[in-house]
């Protein structure tokens, strides 16, 4: 920070602008939450007859909870796939030289910046040609593949900060690569891996553009919501979104605490930032 810059009159104008942007960013979220308690349904000002009825209806709504369960399973499986391939991919990008490395790097990162429709459709064609039946499994493959990009950028960023000498010492002292990987590399990358896992999980829970094309009989939560939106608006959707938002918020706070404790005031949200930077480079 340059000292004294805070007193410039321009900062007041910037403050007003920042306030307006925050209002713009939070308006729909506030409306969403507020109207989940509105007895009259969605829309209509002022909100009246505050009620928990929509939450009651929601808790009795089987298809929504089936969809939530499906989404949780998909997100978990996608997370496992993305990490199982993203961690080695980051190690390979950091340490190995092989023909086509530059192309490989670009291909891995591409789904992050590519509109979901292209990833979804190209996989749909693959499943069609190979005669693979569309199901939650095809969505898992889609999410897992697209989100390798997140795992790779996160872990790659972690590797840049890794102290190489620890691995060298381990190898010199006679540990195998496998032992070194599990006892030195992974523990050192713990934060990057947990961060990537949380991010992949949430992104998969929310994903709709890829799932849209790979859906079989069972819906994920966003697709279930999408189906209902086409039929009409109900505050049940506000209620379920509010619950998921609160869960996500708790997850970030938990993650924030974890990072602050281990790194002493780390720049929070840096993971997402690094991801956004990495993909654009």
């Amino acid at each position: 920070m340059s000292e004294g810059a805070t007193n410039l009159p321009r900062s007041r104008w910037l403050l007003v602008h920042a306030g307006a942007v925050f209002a713009f960013l939070y308006l729909p979220i506030a409306v969403l939450i507020l109207y989940s308690f509105n007895g009259q349904g969605v829309g209509g000002f002022p909100p009246r007859n505050l009620t928990l009825d929509w939450y009651r209806i929601l808790f009795a709504d089987e298809p929504i909870w089936d969809a939530v369960l499906n989404s949780l399973q998909v997100a978990f499986a996608a997370m496992v796939i993305a990490l199982a391939l993203g961690v080695p991919a980051a190690l390979a990008l950091d340490r190995a030289q092989f023909p086509g490395k530059a192309l490989f790097r670009r291909l891995v990162l591409l789904p992050l910046i590519l509109p979901g429709i292209i990833t979804g459709l190209s996989l749909l064609m693959l499943f069609n040609v190979t005669g693979t039946k569309l199901s939650l499994m095809t969505i898992v493959l889609g999410h897992g593949t697209a989100l390798i990009s997140v795992a790779t950028t996160e872990v790659f960023a972690g590797l840049q900060k890794l102290d190489r000498r620890q691995e060298e010492a381990s190898l010199d002292l006679g540990a195998t690569y496998w032992q070194t990987f599990w006892r030195i590399t992974v523990p050192n990358l713990k934060l990057s891996i947990i961060g990537a896992a949380l991010l992949i999980f949430t992104l998969s829970m929310d994903e709709i553009a890829v799932s849209f094309f790979l859906i079989g009989r069972d819906n994920t939560l966003p697709l279930e919501i999408w189906g209902r939106l086409r039929r009409g608006i109900t505050p049940e959707i506000n209620a379920v979104s509010t619950i998921i938002f609160v869960f996500s918020l708790v997850t970030i706070v938990f993650w924030y605490r974890l990072r602050v404790r281990s790194e002493g005031g780390a720049d929070v949200g840096m993971e997402l930032l690094e991801t956004s930077e990495g993909s654009a480079k």
């Binding site: 729909p28 969403l32 429709i117 929310d206 956004s276």
Partner: protein, 282 residues
Amino acid sequence: MFSRAYKTAVAAPPLLWVSVFLLAPYLLMFCYSFWSVSSSRTIVHSWNLNNYEELLAKTVYWQTLLRSMWIAARVMLFSLLLGYPLAYFLSFYAGKRKDLLYQMVIVPLWVSYLVRAYAWKTILGSDGVLNTLLQYVHLTRHPLDFLLYSPFAVVLTLTHIYTPFTFLPIYAALEHVPRNLVEASHDLGATPVQTFWRVIFPLSIPGVVAGATFAFVLSLGDFLAPLLLGGPSGIMISNIVVSLFGAAYNWPLGAAISLGMLVIVVSLLFFSERLEKKWSFS
């Protein structure tokens, strides 16, 4: 320090996976775009240029593509106008509250894209929150119906969704501006405006390019916001692709359009990368 076996072990699985689930599908999309559909609705694997000829001949595809690019360009512009001053404020003026405010920009990203688009729909609809509010305070007598089902609604929603994405790389770039350069500029007698335009802004260009690319590319390929909020006048190129893969059942033509989008996106990424390199001082 790492043996050949180690390198193969870490490189082979992701390489194989990426070849099967990313490279092969893109190549397949390329192949599909040269095939056609028979009258009995099966895909004929005979190679021809019919799809591309149709794309060139019919103006509806060009018009929709241009409209999509115009929507994406506006989203990009508005995201920059909202995101840049915000990032600048946070990086240079927010002081101790910086971290908290930074988090507050990220938090909306944790509400699903679909849900936020839906929330805008409940705000903009003819009996939505905004219209009933305007009538409640007697500003209008009848609901304003141009708010929803228009390109305006799509641009507004996509701007809302991509502003944080635009903000992130700009903020990262501004955070990397060496503060001693800014001080040196002040000390040498430059006004704050001069310091901004001659020192800070040029150093933040890589972030601006990255953020602009994000906003443009991701909104260009969007099909859910137009379906939900766009109405007939807000149809975008991806909506045509969706219908070609659905009811209209012409996968090869859909593949040709998707491939066109892929080419546009990849060339934009290529140019933005060049721009970022050119303006990066590190």
